[in-house]
Amino acid sequence: MSKSKDNSDGKAAVISAKAGVKESIIDFLKKAMDKGVFDAVLIPMRVPAGDSFAYVLIKDKTLLKDGVPLSPIMSVQGAKAVSSVTRLGKGKMKIAAVMRPCEIRATIELSKLGQTDLENTTLISMDCPGVLPMSDFLIDPEKNIKIFNEAVQKWDDAIMRPVCQICDKSSMIAGDIHIGTLGAKKDTFFIISNSQKGNDVMDKLDIVLKDSIDSWQAKVKNITEEKHKKREKNLKDLKSKIGGLDNLLDTFSQCINCHNCMKACPICYCRLCYFDSDKVKHPSEDYLQRAEIKGSIRFLPDTTLFQMGRMMHMSLSCVSCGACEDACPMSIPVAQIFSMIADEIQGLFDYVSGRDLDEPVPLVAYKEEELHEVEDAND
């Protein structure tokens, strides 16, 4: 995948979408399967009960028509799904994974972490308006699907998750192919190739990449700037709300240590998390000693240690997808908090998680001259 997050080479094609954007995308995938470009497609589908969506790896083309490229909720982070299919090797099938930009970025981070083999996988992203909060969606799934689809038409994010409302990377291209719906003329969308793999797919499907994406870029720039402003404001407010030891402890006081956030997070892939391991299991005398020093300790202690520890472990790769906040049973705004921290520490290294497969995670690389400001130099 090339570095640029906005493709200024104009390597795109305008695709007709008279039957509707969703239907045209499905059609594109079907044609690709017909021609043997892909053997299987990983795309969300509505579950039989109708009250949720799940990723399905589809080989039988007749199932494609029930695929939902932009589902109203993020039940399982797409990167987790891709990793589930390719963690133990690339397999024989050529797979197309249709996901949101943050899911693509998380997949790329997982690839850097050795948790997914992308050789036979083509990553297809699309402009993302956000997703509904899971708990809101579940109140009335049928109604909320309609409301979501209407919001997509208007690109209105008022009902989306708080962390989606402040996402300034909702049209970031990080995969092989990107479907650009913003700024496209009526009944069309852009299909943008971002890599050799993407170009090969277009070749095989006889799609000529000769169109300009100026209108898409302009619209994306517009939306991104607005979101960025909102992001700065919201995160500033958040910092004042949770900053400082007292506020931090209060924020996480309701945390029951269920570790749902860790499990839902695509970046947290450790089979045995440090915070579930023997390292945090102590004999009774240790706990009693701690209790004696303070007079009383929460039991089990170290909730803040878990939260901040997880922050330290994964924030460099955090894509602000918000899966953690959806999974939290105590409605702690973990996604917003982690997103805020992620911005700051990724900024330290001029790193954007998932931007480029060849860009190493900052902690496994170094420059001989850098970050002198944190050193205790005796000038």
């Binding site: 589809i58 390719t86 499990k263």
Partner: protein, 369 residues
Amino acid sequence: MTKALKINKSAEQGVIEFLKALLENGKVKGVFALKKISNDGAVAYSLITKPNELDNAVPFYPLMPVNAGKLLSRFTLKGSSIGPVAAVVKPCELRAFIELVKREQGSLENLFFISSTCGGVYPLKMSVNGTVEKNLTKYWDAVKKGEISADLRSACKGCTEFMPYTADVTFDLIGNNDPDKQCVVFLNTKKGEEFAKGMKGEFLKKELDRKKLDKFKSKREVEKKKLFDEIDAKMNGMDGLIDIFGRCIGCHGCMRVCPICYCKLCEFESPDSEYKPSNYESDLKKRGGVRVPPGTIYYQLGRLTHIGISCVGCGACDDVCPVDIPVSIIFKKVGESVQKMFDYIPGRDVDEDIPLITFEKEEFAEIEE
């Protein structure tokens, strides 16, 4: 006749005084109870060593942030408690701990259990916006009248094991006519009597009012039947199961908060349960499409097979589920059904073997064909 102690204070105040006295007299090194831990009233279990820290303890608060059985197991996992500790726990939490002790995941030594006839807890969601605090009066009113609050955890509404089996001391909360002024504490064991010595109150010989508790039990039985029937109607065949568990996102939160699930590496997170590319390829040939990550029903039924025999019906699983699947009712129903087969009540007696590690030479002849 059991020895009992009548305290002229509300149960909450009475138990705090009891615990303070235990600490002050050096009878225990620490006390384990629910306590308000933040400025906005969040409640969590705490290990308390200084008597004045008990001032904002709320031992009988209608909330279960974590099943205390799991916490006691963690406390005694690396060896029994180094000194005597008194723990105020709910009946299901105590039973869960006993089940864990049977599995060598904890030790009873040096632990002293204070429990109560339990009126149930509220779902954790209600604590998020301070609703529990607002409902406290309503809650205690219902407990006093021996009624079931409408907004309790489903598992609590249908719970018929609200009487602790192995507590050293039991506060009788249900059907207490004057809950603000007095409460009766039953001293069930020698340890209980010993620890109550020197407490302020009237010592008497009294039996638990079985009639009152049976009446309450039958109300709970009615609720239980309602909940079980509701879930039964949905569990019809593979389609029914897929409908119920369709929303499951595989977060395994239910497994993590379950007191009985203690495995360091759960079978369903181990390499055994991981799909290799070849598994996907062969599954796709068979079915044409496969949900990713796979194995949702396998995980749910598999976990049911593993822990159903010891499920204490606490309902922690329900509260942690991000997609509101009624896990606790399913596990409670199937768990009880399996336990009945062996006349087993999990946590009733630490010397009672888990049914699957023992056998009778003649039994279940009807199973074999």
